[in-house]
């Protein structure tokens, strides 16, 4: 499939704190990578840099052959709209927009809205009948499925999920994990931060971080 993501000695310094230290690895297109490590190990920083929400202090981050490190704020905004789909632990939905409007918002920032496609995306995560509900009217699991629908709507090259099941009960966790399995089965490239080794086992590879350094890379499935 070819390399989609390449990190080459990436470091990130916040004042006196080194959040990432000389991290290098590659991700094949269509691969599911689980990122693990204790709190403060640099997992979220890594996801933020890959998602263009933050810039590395040094090193190169190539996504689809393009180094995103030197990109301007404007180009990074475009990169996020076109290449990345985010799924956050805290869901992060706009509270005054309905489920379908939250999905359409990502379309709006990407190019133009298509309500029919947004509803199909919601139907795909099992929320066809909840499209007109506000986030406050949805359960945690339903909100997280809306964020998955939103992450998929622009067909991004990369899906970045930061502990997507961290705030879910067991039943909803299983629903969301199954969604990621389906996405992986369809060939999406996923980088997923998790503390749950059970979820990590579903990935193709597991990358472990400790004190900002890459401590272990394990191949889990073929």
């Amino acid at each position: 499939m070819g390399v989609l993501v390449e990190l080459d000695r990436v470091s990130k310094q916040y004042g006196g704190v080194r959040a990432l230290d000389q991290v290098s690895f590659t991700v094949e297109a269509g691969e599911w990578i689980a990122i693990m490590g204790p709190s403060g190990s640099g997992k979220t920083t890594l996801i933020n840099i890959l998602g263009g929400l933050d810039s590395p202090s040094s090193g190169r981050v190539l996504v689809d052959g393009r180094d995103i490190g030197p990109l301007s704020e404007k180009d990074l905004t475009r990169y996020r709209a076109e290449k990345v789909g985010f799924v956050f632990q805290q869901f992060h939905l706009i509270p005054y927009l309905t489920a379908v409007e939250n999905v359409m918002l990502a379309q709006y920032f990407h190019s133009m809205t298509d309500e029919k496609e947004a509803r199909e995306s919601l139907a795909r995560v099992g929320l066809a009948d909840r499209a007109e509900h506000l986030p406050s009217q949805l359960s945690g699991g339903e909100q997280q499925r809306v964020t998955v629908a939103r992450a998929l709507i622009n067909h991004p090259a990369l899906i970045l999920a930061d502990e997507p099941t961290g705030n879910l009960d067991e039943a909803n966790e299983e629903l969301v994990v199954n969604l990621f399995r389906e996405l992986h089965g369809e060939g999406h490239t996923i980088l997923l931060v998790t503390h749950d080794s059970g979820i990590a086992r579903l990935a193709d590879r597991r990358i472990e971080l400790a004190h900002g350094r890459l401590s272990q890379v394990s191949v889990l499935s073929t």
């Binding site: 933050d54 985010f86 990407h110």
Partner: protein, 379 residues
């Protein structure tokens, strides 16, 4: 999508936005009322000054406006020219009347007989108070208005008759009303012009003409120039004290209104600023998320400006309507007549309020500094 987000954010922040809206409506109401006053002040003041009586006097050279002695007179030909100019469509003359003063005698006392068109008196001197009846017919040679002091001296009351003599000529007059002005008129007897001309034996001569010209000092001066050119043998004088007082008062009133409007706008802007500063803090996470999803800052700024602009437009429109009511009330209280709302004040107020709302929304610029990575992890 733009309008969905706009509608949603308006609904979400309706409490805070209502505070800003109330501030804008209040500011717009006061501003538009003052602007209505500003635009209408000249007309109102001109009307007020008009009630002060004549502001132009025409007389033979070197005579006062009204004297206690018999004045030099000028003939009917000049009077016809004055009437012709005064009745011209562009003259701005609201009313005028000729006067002839004669020192006569009655019951061994001297009385000043003032002849004029008594039917014009209520318009030329609206402050006159008459106990009894006005003389409303210019051709009435029998009735007169007697000044309060004269009435007391001659023991006259409405309905009583008395005799007046001058240069061997004698007339009998019947008192129609007792005139009370607090001025020189209280010592005079007012008859129709023809009566005074008859007893003075001056034919159709008059002593002076008092004219009230509507409009500002410049308009009065234009009329004076035009009339002076038509009757060069007469002296045409504006009553400068009134004209200058009118001009100065108008100028001061305008300045006062403009300064007040500026202060009201500044206070409204500060109120909006305080509300928007709070709103900016509340919306940090929404903006951070939108930026994370690829929302470019210019697009997000447009959303906010549309929201604030809409707030300003709605507040300005509602405030303008309230302002029209407020202006009418102020007009009734201050000028005794309603100030009519000026159409141009509506768009002007709306534009001002949109500008004030935009200026007050300056704190929303801070949102451009929001770093999505920070706010999304709760920072």
């Amino acid at each position: 999508m733009f309008w969905r987000v706009l509608r949603g954010s308006l609904r979400e922040s309706r409490g805070r936005l209502a505070v800003a809206l109330v501030a804008i409506i209040s500011g717009a109401a006061v501003s538009s009322a003052l602007l209505d006053l500003q635009f209408d002040a000249e007309r109102k003041f001109t009307r007020e000054f008009r009630t002060l009586g004549a502001n132009v006097v025409v007389s033979p050279p070197s005579t006062g406006s009204r004297t206690d002695e018999e004045s030099p007179v000028f003939g009917g030909e000049e009077l016809q020219k004055i009437i012709s100019v005064s009745n011209g469509g562009q003259s701005g003359v609201t009313t005028f009347a000729p006067f002839l003063f004669v020192v006569a005698h009655s019951a061994e006392s001297s009385v000043i007989l003032a002849g004029t068109w008594l039917d014009e008196a209520p318009r030329l001197a609206p402050w006159w108070k008459v106990q009894g009846q006005w003389v409303s017919n210019r051709a009435d040679r029998q009735h007169c208005l007697v000044g309060r002091q004269v009435a007391r001296q001659l023991k006259l009351s409405p309905g009583s008759s008395f005799e007046v003599t001058h240069a061997g000529r004698k007339i009998n007059l019947e008192v129609s009303g007792i005139l009370s002005t607090g001025g020189a008129e209280d010592n005079q007897v007012y008859v129709n012009l023809a009566v005074a001309q008859g007893i003075a034996g001056v034919g159709d001569g008059v002593g002076l003409v008092e004219i009230n010209v509507g409009g500002n000092a410049e308009r009065v001066q234009n009329f004076v120039t035009e009339l002076a050119a038509r009757v060069p043998e007469l002296e045409v004088r504006p009553l400068r004290q009134i004209a200058q007082a009118e001009g100065q008062l108008l100028s001061r009133l305008r300045m006062l209104l403009l300064v007040t409007v500026a202060l009201v706008l500044a206070l409204t802007g500060l109120c909006v600023l305080a509300t928007m500063a709070t709103l900016a803090m509340e919306r940090r996470s929404d903006i951070g998320l939108m930026k994370a999803l690829g929302g470019a800052m210019p697009r997000l700024v447009r959303m906010f400006l549309a929201e604030v602009g809409l707030l300003g437009a709605v507040g300005g429109a509602l405030g303008s309507l309230l302002g029209a009511v407020l202006a009418a009330w102020i007009g009734r209280r201050v000028f005794g007549t309603a100030i009519s709302a000026r159409l141009e004040v509506f768009p002007l107020t709306i534009a001002l309020m949109m500008a004030v709302a935009m200026a007050g929304a300056t704190p929303l610029r801070l949102l451009s500094r929001v770093r999505p990575a920070v706010v999304l992890r709760g920072g």
